[in-house]
């Protein structure tokens, strides 16, 4: 049923008829143009599928055939859609012209991009000084400042005044730890002072945390007075600011941390920690009396955090510049989403003016090592793809647990694996623009060899 005309014939005929509307259309070669009139293809749909110019050719062909006395109308019985909008040849041309043509412009349009800053961020996060030098009553070689942000971490709204810092865990007795962590500390495990030295000298810890876990009544029940000698040893061994932790026993910790605060008098040590489950007032007051900083620990609940901060300020009299929050770190794959969002909400709340929340935050990043993906040799699930080498899996688990919370607003990270410490420092400092490095040409990434 198709009518076949070769283009050369068509061109000749068109030339004879002086058809103006084909100007600008160049058809090369001796192509056969087929219009299957019986299929009713000529119409807006035809124009849409084959483009405006071709439709125009079709219309010309139809007109031409008509001029030759060919019964075009009877052949053009298009399908339902085309029929509904009347396929009379004269209107076909109109319909074809109405379909927007795909047209590539000669040049790119010009455009300017602009975006504002977040105007709701009006309150600065409190800046807190950790450590004190001789000049201000301590014995540290230098001080560290954390907090002071005016925007979410790494946002362009305002530069971060202080970089995130890492404190490496030291324990007052050997403890069980994942193989990928233990291998770095085996030689110093029996001597907290050596342990602290190694953390600072070899692993570039900004601070060290001395955990007095032997004081736990269920472990060694070391008396507070005796246990805090380790704090003195560590203060002697390193000159970085320090953090002091208890055993986690809510009764014993009050005594241990109060004593530890006395031993570290004037050092602006971070005392870990006061919580709603223990005598926070005693711990808060022990911090104030000895010019130390109080870590306020709550469990993934923003309102508890507000309550504890408020009580520490109003009841225990802890000054604003001596509070750091630990809103709890749930590790990657073990509830990190809760920890992340809790911290992000705390930081946003603080920036928006909640004065019970605008304090620096701390993360117990070592919790990452409790996640089975971080330490198990193989997957317990037989259908999992290979879990590979756990010695490589563990450190990245600690890196990403810490880093994701850095993005939510954490200022100080309690960590253990030295590789994880190095990567966390590198990525956070890179995102602050502190690491100068020549950036490779990324435009040829497609053809890179890896």
């Amino acid at each position: 049923m198709g009518e076949k005309l070769s283009i050369s014939d068509l061109n000749k005929k068109l030339a004879e008829m002086d058809v103006k509307s084909l100007e600008g259309v160049t058809i090369e070669g001796d192509i056969e143009l087929e219009i299957d009139a019986g299929a009713g293809g000529v119409g807006p749909l035809f124009a849409y599928y084959f483009g405006e110019e071709v439709a125009k050719v079709a219309v010309q062909l139809v007109n031409m055939a008509k001029a030759f006395g060919y019964p075009v109308e009877s052949l053009l019985q298009p399908v339902a859609v085309a029929q509904a909008i009347s396929p009379a040849p004269a209107e076909l041309a109109k319909a074809a012209a109405a379909v927007p043509a795909f047209k590539i412009p000669d040049t790119l349009k010009t455009a300017k991009f602009a975006v504002g800053t977040d105007k709701t961020w009006k309150t600065q996060v409190q800046e807190v000084q950790l450590g004190a030098t001789k000049a201000d009553g301590g014995s540290r070689g230098h001080v560290i400042k954390i907090g002071g942000e005016k925007a979410m971490p790494f946002f362009f709204d305002a530069a971060m005044p202080n970089r995130p810092v890492v404190t490496i865990d030291v324990f007052d007795m050997p403890i069980g730890m994942a193989k990928a962590v233990k291998m770095h500390y085996e030689d110093v495990m029996n001597d907290p002072a050596d342990w602290a030295k190694k953390a600072v000298k070899e692993f570039k810890a900004d601070l060290v945390t001395t955990h007095l876990i032997s004081t736990d009544p269920l472990i060694k029940d070391t008396p507070a007075k005796e246990a805090v000698k380790v704090v003195e040893d560590v203060l002697q061994a390193v000159d970085v600011p320090i953090v002091i932790g208890g055993s986690g026993n809510p009764e014993k910790d009050v005594e241990v941390l109060s004593k530890a605060s006395e031993v570290a008098q004037g050092e602006r040590a971070l005392i870990a920690s006061a919580s709603l489950n223990l005598d926070w007032e005693a711990i808060g007051k022990a911090c104030v009396a000895n010019n130390n900083v109080c870590l306020a620990w709550t469990q993934l609940e923003i309102n508890s955090q507000k309550e504890l901060n408020r009580k520490l300020m109003k009841v225990a009299g802890v000054p604003r510049d001596s509070i750091v929050m630990d809103p709890t770190t749930a590790a990657l794959a073990y509830g990190m989403d809760f920890a992340y969002t809790n911290m992000e909400r705390i930081r946003l709340g603080g920036l928006k003016g909640d004065e019970e929340l605008n304090f620096p935050m701390s993360s117990g990043t070592t919790n990452a090592w409790g996640v089975r993906e971080a330490w198990m040799v193989n997957s317990p699930n037989k259908n999992d793809s290979s879990w590979g080498d756990r010695m490589l899996r563990g450190p990245i688990w600690e890196i990403l647990t810490g880093f994701s919370l850095a993005m939510a607003g954490v200022d100080i990270f309690m960590m253990m694996n030295p590789i994880a410490v190095a990567y966390l420092q590198e990525i956070t400092q890179s995102l602050m623009g502190l690491i100068k490095a020549e950036t490779p040409d990324t435009t040829n990434w497609i053809s890179m060899e890896v």
């Binding site: 795909f102 790119l108 794959a333 992340y340 969002t341 590979g388 490589l392 990403l400 890179s430 497609i446």
Partner: protein, 474 residues
């Protein structure tokens, strides 16, 4: 969608309360649209052609109002089709992030066939079980390294023979892209990329083959926006933006800031002329190192950066377990809907190969709690039964306090799960220590035919508890 009031969506609905969508009223449906639990096309009358005259205008307006702030693009075809973009919030707690950025792992046309097939199969079959789901890799990115259109097309073909996962065709040469499209256009791959140099030819390809296209203008947001404006004017609307991913140095800071700027422009400022999904290239980590561990770690860290802040799709290289596993979990955690606690299906689970002598534990269906207990049992080789009681995904301590876990609920849950204590030798189950106060009431409920033992408060202490307390004394 910025709208938060159902009332403002209600006015675009038929307001007939016909109930076809399953809601009793149009207002309830409007509330469902706000919560993203209902989809617009579930309102059948609105889409019925017969009602075109009556509702046509409403439908158009409604579509405008509920459109996501970051445009939603579909890549791929059929059941493997992926949603890219479609985000509505800046921070996940404001609602949720909706469409996790697909990870596309690379292959190249310079690989020999055996290596190529092996890698595609690895990508195709990679999986990891996590909180009741199989996490997978979504896409394959085919890079043209040879510059040879024929080789590229052959490579694309070979990839398609070995996976049904959607593709990204990567080349700046329109001839190469065209050759790839010739063999793959029906699967609707994403093409990468139109640049300031090749945009005319690539636009023509996107038009001819009806495929989504990436616009790449690194580190120049004005330039990227001008490209977007030009493509939109041509009627090309399936766009993905590549604002540049620098793997290190100060440019990396700039990269992240650009992602944040783009997300803020679309989500917080409603800049509808520049709100397309954004692509990150963590693969660029490999431009800075050849060390396999360093490369994998750094790529992982870059991926985390952009999963958290603003990427809607990304091209990756390292499929080593120490790179892909942490990133999968990170993406899962960030894209988990914070409005609904993560839950496991309530019921009785087997840990290991339990027998009639094995202990029977119970916990709640809060996924984290459940998997912690399960893991503590499994990793200690304790063959056992573990009942997950439906507490609406709330943990033990909170559900005991909040009444979602009660003695009668525990008894009902055992009955529903078909647990017959008569078939056990011990006729006992072990309560979580946090629910110790239920033991007396449970003994009454079971008329002392089944004993409720009190277990430790932390499931990590189950092995020690077992040594002293199991099997129970008669």
């Amino acid at each position: 969608m910025k709208e938060t009031s159902p009332l403002n969506l209600y006015k675009f609905l038929p307001q007939t309360n016909c109930g076809e969508c399953g809601e009793q009223t149009c207002m309830a449906f409007a509330a469902g649209l706000i919560a993203r639990s209902r989809k617009i096309d579930e309102c059948k009358p609105l889409f019925d052609e017969k009602n075109q005259k009556k509702y046509g205008k409403k439908l158009t307006s409604l579509k405008d109002v509920i459109a996501p702030e970051v445009a939603l693009i579909y890549v791929g075809a059929g059941d493997k089709q992926l949603k890219v973009g479609g985000e509505d919030v800046m921070y996940r707690h404001q609602m949720t992030f909706f469409n996790k950025p697909p990870f596309a792992y690379d292959v190249t046309d310079a690989m020999n066939e055996a290596d190529l097939v092996e890698r595609v199969k690895l990508i195709d079959t990679w999986k990891k079980f996590y909180i009741g789901n199989w996490e997978e890799v979504e896409m394959v990115a085919v890079r043209c390294v040879t510059g040879d259109a024929g080789k590229f097309a052959a490579c694309v073909k070979k990839v398609m023979e070995n996976t049904k996962k959607p593709l990204i065709l990567c080349s700046f040469d329109p001839k190469v892209l065209k050759a790839g499209l010739e063999v793959s256009a029906a699967t609707r791959p994403l093409i990468y990329a139109a640049t300031k140099d090749n945009w005319k030819e690539v636009a023509q390809l996107a038009y001819d083959y009806k495929v989504p296209v990436t616009l790449s203008v690194p580190f120049d947001l004005d330039g990227l926006k001008s490209m977007v404006a030009t493509f939109k004017e041509m009627g090309l609307d399936d766009l993905v933006l590549d604002p540049g991913t620098a793997p290190n140095g100060e440019k990396l800071q700039e990269s992240l800031q650009n992602f944040i700027k783009l997300r803020r422009a679309s989500v917080e400022e409603g800049q509808k002329d520049f709100n397309y999904p954004v692509m990150a290239l963590p693969i660029n980590a490999w431009l800075t190192t050849k060390d396999p561990v360093r490369g994998a770690y750094w790529e992982s860290v870059l991926a985390a950066t952009f999963v958290i802040r603003g990427a809607d799709i990304m091209i990756r290289h390292s499929i080593e377990p120490h790179s892909v596993m942490p990133d999968m979990h990170l993406r899962f955690n960030i894209y988990t809907d914070p409005r609904t606690p993560v839950q496991v299906k309530p019921g009785l689970y087997k840990v290991g190969k339990p027998t009639e002598d094995s202990p029977v534990f119970l916990t709640t269906n809060f996924a984290l709690t459940y998997y912690t207990v399960e893991s503590d049992l499994a990793s200690n080789g304790i063959d056992s039964y573990l009942l997950a009681v439906n507490t609406d995904g709330i943990g033990v301590q909170a559900s005991v306090a909040g009444g979602q876990l009660t003695p009668s609920k525990i008894k009902d849950a055992f009955a529903e799960a078909g647990m017959d204590f008569e078939t056990t030798t011990h006729k006992a189950f072990i309560l979580p220590g946090m629910a110790a106060k239920f033991s007396g009431e449970l003994d009454d409920l079971y008329a002392y035919k089944v004993k409720a033992l009190v277990g430790p408060e932390d499931s990590g202490r189950i092995p020690g508890w077992m040594e002293k307390q199991w099997p129970p004394k008669k």
